[in-house]
Symmetry: C2
Subunit: 342 residues, 2 copies
DNA sequence: ACCACATGCTGAATCGTGTCAGCAGGATAG
DNA sequence: CTATCCTGCTGACACGATTCAGCATGTGGT
C-alpha cells in the first residue's frame, strides 16, 4: 500500500524499451508487431524480476472489460445445495482468469435492482441470473443488452440463453433404476407440484409417467403433499393407514423421502426389503438416511460452471434452453440385483 | 455498450460549470470548496437529468479504492449452512454500498494463492478469510499488510482480528435448556473431537462440562464417534445394546443427532418421552427430524455480517478474538415443562 | 543511384476521475 | 489609493494502461 507499486513504465525502463513495446509483449501482440524475440525475452524477465502485475483498473478504464462475472441470485444460501452453484461458478471463473462477484436479492425486486446497478457500475463482463428453485422469471429491464445467462430459470419470452436441469431425463433414470432392480409391486409418487412458477414438479411427473408407461406398468398413484419432511411424513402415514402396500415410492425430493422413511418405519416397513425408494435433488440428506436413498442429483455445480463458461467464452450467446443432465447418487434404498439378500 | 456513457464532463457542461466543480459537488466537498448553493443545485439536477453514474474504474485508478470486499473461503458451499455466511456478507456489503467477490480454494493452497492474487490485483478494500469448520489457520504471507478479518478461524500468532462462534456459551445454553425442562437421568455426550485443527469440539465439551458441574450433575459419559449420521447411529446403537438408558443426549452436531435418533428408534426409545436430545449447528436438518431437535445455532449469517461491517467500517482493525453469540433453534426434543404430557 | 518494402521499435493521444494550486473580482482595511 | 482577504470557481496534471500512426534502419530489385 505504502510502497508505490510496479508499473509498466518500470518494466519498460528495466528492459530498455518503450512502454508501448512492453505492452505489446504482455498482450501477446509481439508476433504481429514484429518485436524481436530477444526483446520479448528482455521484457519477460523484467516482468519476472520486478514482480510486475498489471493494474486492473487502468486496464478496465481503457478496455471496458473487467474479467469479472456477476452472479445474481434470489437465495445463494438457504437451499443447502444451491450454493454449490457458486462452487462451480467460482471454479469456472478461475479457469478463465475471472472473478465472481455475488449479489443476493432475497426475492426483493428493489434490492435486486440495486445489486444490478452495482454490478453494471463495475462493468462486469457478464451476469448469471439464477434462481434457487427452477422457475419462470421476468428478467429486469436493466439487464437488457447485457451479456446474461439464466440459471435454473427461463424468461417467458425465451429471449435469453437458459440452463435448466434435465428433470425429464432424470426422472426417467430414476424409474429405470427401479426397473433394473426388478422392483415388484406398484410404483407410487410422493409429493406434487407445490408453487405456481416452479417447473421441476411437472417435469419430474412427466418423466416418471413416460418411463413407466413405456415399461407397461403405469403409475399406481400419487400421494400428494408439499415438499417438506413433516408434510410428507403425515401424508404417507395416513395413506399407509388405509392398508395400501406399495412396491416402490418415487419421492419428489429428498426431504419428502425423509418424511416417507419416517412413516414407513412407523408402519414397520423395511427399505428396500418391503418398499424401494428413489428420490430427487441428490442432497447430502439423501446419504444420511438409513439406508441412503438413491437420488437424482440437481446438477448445481455443472449449472454454475456452464453458465460462467458461456459468459467467459468467446462464442455468441444465443437464446435457447440447454438441458443439463442429472446424475444419480446411488443409495441402498433399492434392492441390489446382484446380491439380493445381502 | 454502444452508446458512449454519460461522463462527468457531460454533467459539467450541462450545469454550465467546470468538471472540477462538478466533482467537488459529487464528493460532498461543496461546502469546503465554497461552491454556491445555486451552483450545487444546478449540478445535482444535471446529474439527475442525465442519469449520470460515475465510472468506478476511473475512480479506482485515482483513489485506489474499489468498494469491494473479497471473501476467501475453503468451501463456500459444501456445508449446507456456511453459505448463509455469504448471505450475511452480501447484505452487510450492500448496506455499505460495497460488493462482494468470492473465491473458493477448496482447501488447495495454490488455488488459494491464485484467488488472493486476483483479489489484490483488483484492489479489494478488505478480505474476509473464512473457514467452513472452526479451525486454527496459517494466514498466507500475501495477506500481510492487508485489511483482513478471520471468520470462523484464528491464526496461531493472533495477529489478525478474528470472529468465532461462542461455542462455550452456546454449550452452556444447551445444558440449561435441558435443566429448565427438568430432565431426569444421566446426561451423555455423543460425538467427539474429530479433526486436529478443529476448535468447536473441545469448546463445546468444555462448556457442557462446566454447566453440568455447576448444576451438580456431572457429565455421565461420552459416546465417541465421528461427526456423521452413520457413525453416530452405529456408535449409539452399540452403546444402547449394552443396556444403558440415558436421560438426555447432547449431540455434538445435527448429523450426529440424526444418527442418534435412528438408533434410539431402533431400540424403541421415544424422544423426548424416554430421552431428551439437544444438538449443535442449528441446520435445517434439525427441523426435519421427528420431533425437531433443539439445536444451538452456528451464527454464520452474523459472522458474515460482522466481518464485512468491520472491513467497511472506518474503525481501526485490532487483532483480537470476538466471540459471536449462538442462538438456540427450538425443537420438541426436550419435554415442555409447561405442558409435560403435551 | 533510386524506390519499395520489410523490420523493429516509439510518441502521443486516450479512457474518466480526483485534487492541488491558482486566478479573477469584489469587499474590506489601513 | 494600495494592500490584503475572501468568495467562487477553473486549469492542468496525475493515476496506469492500450493502441494508432509513424519513424528510423536495413535489404532487395531495377
Amino acid at each position: 500500500m505504502a510502497v508505490r507499486s510496479v508499473t509498466l513504465v518500470d518494466v519498460a525502463r528495466r528492459a530498455g524499451v518503450s512502454r508501448t513495446t512492453a505492452s505489446y509483449v504482455l498482450n501477446g501482440r509481439a508476433e504481429r508487431m514484429r518485436i524481436a524475440p530477444l526483446t520479448v525475452e528482455r521484457v519477460r524477465s523484467a516482468v519476472a524480476e520486478l514482480g510486475y502485475r498489471p493494474n486492473r483498473s487502468a486496464q478496465t478504464l481503457r478496455t471496458s472489460t473487467t474479467s469479472t462475472i456477476g452472479v445474481l441470485s434470489d437465495h445463494v444460501a438457504s437451499g443447502h445445495y444451491a450454493s454449490s452453484m457458486l462452487t462451480g461458478a467460482s471454479a469456472a471463473a478461475r479457469r478463465a482468469d475471472h472473478l465472481v462477484v455475488i449479489g443476493e436479492s432475497e426475492g426483493d425486486v428493489d434490492l435486486e435492482a440495486l445489486h444490478i446497478q452495482e454490478m453494471l457500475d463495475r462493468q462486469v463482463d457478464g451476469i448469471v441470473y439464477a434462481r434457487l428453485v427452477t422457475s419462470t422469471v421476468i428478467v429486469p429491464d436493466s439487464l437488457r443488452d447485457q451479456r446474461v445467462v439464466l440459471l435454473n430459470c427461463v424468461d417467458e419470452q425465451r429471449s435469453y440463453p437458459a440452463l435448466l436441469p434435465d428433470e425429464r431425463a432424470g426422472a426417467r433414470s430414476a424409474v429405470e433404476t427401479l426397473a433394473e432392480a426388478g422392483v415388484a409391486g406398484d410404483v407410487w409418487v410422493v409429493g406434487d407440484d407445490p408453487t405456481p412458477h416452479a417447473l421441476a414438479g411437472p417435469l419430474r411427473m412427466a418423466g416418471i409417467r413416460e418411463a413407466l408407461d413405456e415399461l407397461g406398468t403405469p403409475l399406481a398413484g400419487v400421494v400428494s403433499c408439499p415438499w417438506a419432511a413433516r408434510d410428507a411424513h403425515d401424508a404417507v402415514h395416513h395413506w399407509l393407514m388405509s392398508g395400501v402396500r406399495p412396491g416402490a415410492l418415487v419421492c419428489l425430493n429428498d426431504r419428502v423421502a425423509m418424511g416417507a422413511y419416517q412413516a414407513l418405519a412407523t408402519h414397520g416397513l423395511d427399505v428396500p426389503g418391503d418398499v424401494s425408494v428413489v428420490s430427487f435433488d441428490g442432497t447430502e440428506l439423501a446419504t444420511w438416511l438409513r439406508p441412503p436413498v438413491a437420488s437424482v442429483e440437481l446438477p448445481y455445480t455443472a449449472l454454475g460452471e456452464l453458465a460462467v463458461e458461456a459468459l467467459t467464452g468467446a462464442e455468441e450467446l444465443t437464446p435457447s434452453i440447454r438441458w443439463v443432465p442429472m446424475g444419480l447418487v446411488p443409495g441402498r434404498s433399492v434392492p441390489d440385483r446382484e446380491r439380493p439378500f445381502h
